[in-house]
Symmetry: C2
Subunit: 266 residues, 2 copies
């Protein structure tokens, strides 16, 4: 038995989220099926985080114990050969036996992508959230700055009845505008349920002038979800990377997952 | 009655090509249906060129005569509101009464997109052609240069029994490599059936070392289709633009069609 970790990219529009649920193809199931067809036994895979239906990942991390004679490189290729369309293992490596993709995670980075245009983008509509009207990027940056730091994020997440702490440390939140694409890039020690989508929905309301940047402090302090913006659609959300204290996938071979392959050169 | 021309972008994976054929949703049908629902009568739309099933367009051009009181800007928005998902009119303008999108076309530009990577790209697989192994870009550029100019392109197209001339003037053929994406960009006074896909399939064989750049001259001279490479898949092909002697869409308002919206920022 050895402990293996993988870094995955997947198109969320092709799966019902990360977590295995009978009758609905999930990324976890796809990976476990690929493993089962290789080693002939059911192996449970632990993901760093659960992504919802329609949410994409560029560098999700998962770990599992497996008993195989294949070396890392062969195991990597064999798993990708068996993996369902829409998901790819970008790199694979054997790690210390007690590594756990979820429990060892120290934080995550998320990307939320908005395409701004008068009409629905013809290409790959499941890969971004479409907004009709121009947004005030300056105001959005002002609001983003007020979200930074250690807060109770109950107002910017769908936490239901909070039992444990809803305090998280948002250490980065960038608003990047490139032509008609707006990218919100966040880093935190942890994200509450729908936190990134609520941050995005709230920043979009700020960009529309519906919420003033100055209101963010009061919204956070209120811990009242109803005062923030809507939960933005899953289609725009990408798990960018998972942060660990130890270096991961440094030596491992990497596959370019064809992530630039979706943009027509003009 | 006035004569109107439109510039369209569409995702070819959502249509059975440009040309109307009963029972199979086409871009022409989508545009004619949108027009019919606006003006209440069936209007025939003339496209600059017929794209096959799965072939995309960034700037297809079509023209039609219509009797409406809507000005260009209103007509543009109304048509887009009725147009099927996956297609968008980027701009619209009233033009001289005898303009015809097909007969007045002086040439076209095509893009063929290849994503190179060990594993199938997880995102938007219908928007590019996936090639596993690295390609020799230098050799491909050498072969591309030999294809330039005025030739009988029977060897690089699927023309069947040639009745009229198969001579075309290929005035540009660039091989652009950016990270894992390879773009072939061609301009000619006209393209024979499957000519761009055969040029792409042949250049890919050159990149693989299966065909030497020096062989291109003999392949062209032979006019023998079997000596060239395979017809590359439709998924990689984009109609980039249609060339006319007169300036088109200069004054017209344009819609960014969210074409950059398919590339995740990392």
């Amino acid at each position: 038995m050895r402990n293996v970790r993988v870094q995955l990219a997947y198109d969320g529009s092709r799966f019902f989220g990360w977590q295995r649920q009978d009758g609905f193809p999930s990324v976890q199931e796809a990976l476990e099926e690929a493993l089962a067809s290789l080693v002939g036994e059911r192996i449970t895979v632990h993901g760093a985080g659960r992504t919802d239906t329609g949410v994409h990942a560029l560098r999700q991390v998962a770990s599992f114990h497996v008993d195989t004679e294949l070396d890392d490189n062969r195991l990597w290729h064999a798993l990708n050969a068996h993996l369902a369309d829409g998901a790819v293992i970008r790199c694979l490596e054997t790690c210390r036996d007690d590594f756990h993709a979820q429990f060892d995670a120290r934080g995550k980075r998320y990307l939320y992508r908005v395409v701004i245009g008068r009409f629905r983008p013809p290409f790959a509509r499941e890969l971004a959230h479409w907004v009709r009207e121009p947004l005030d990027v300056g105001a959005m940056r002002g609001a983003a700055e007020r979200m930074l730091g250690k807060h109770d994020f109950s107002a910017l997440a769908n936490v239901g009845s909070p039992r444990k702490s809803n305090v998280r440390n948002l250490t980065a939140l960038r608003v990047v505008a490139r032509r008609e694409v707006l990218a919100l890039i966040a880093r935190a020690d942890g994200f509450l349920y729908n936190m990134m989508r609520t941050i995005a929905g709230t920043l979009i309301e700020v960009g529309r002038g519906k919420i003033a940047p100055e209101e963010i402090d009061a919204i956070l302090a209120s811990r009242d979800r109803t005062r923030a913006g809507p939960t933005a659609p899953a289609s725009g959300l990408y798990l960018l990377s998972v942060l660990y204290d130890e270096p991961c996938f440094i030596g491992a071979e990497r596959a370019t997952a064809g992530l630039s392959g979706t943009k027509p050169v003009r």
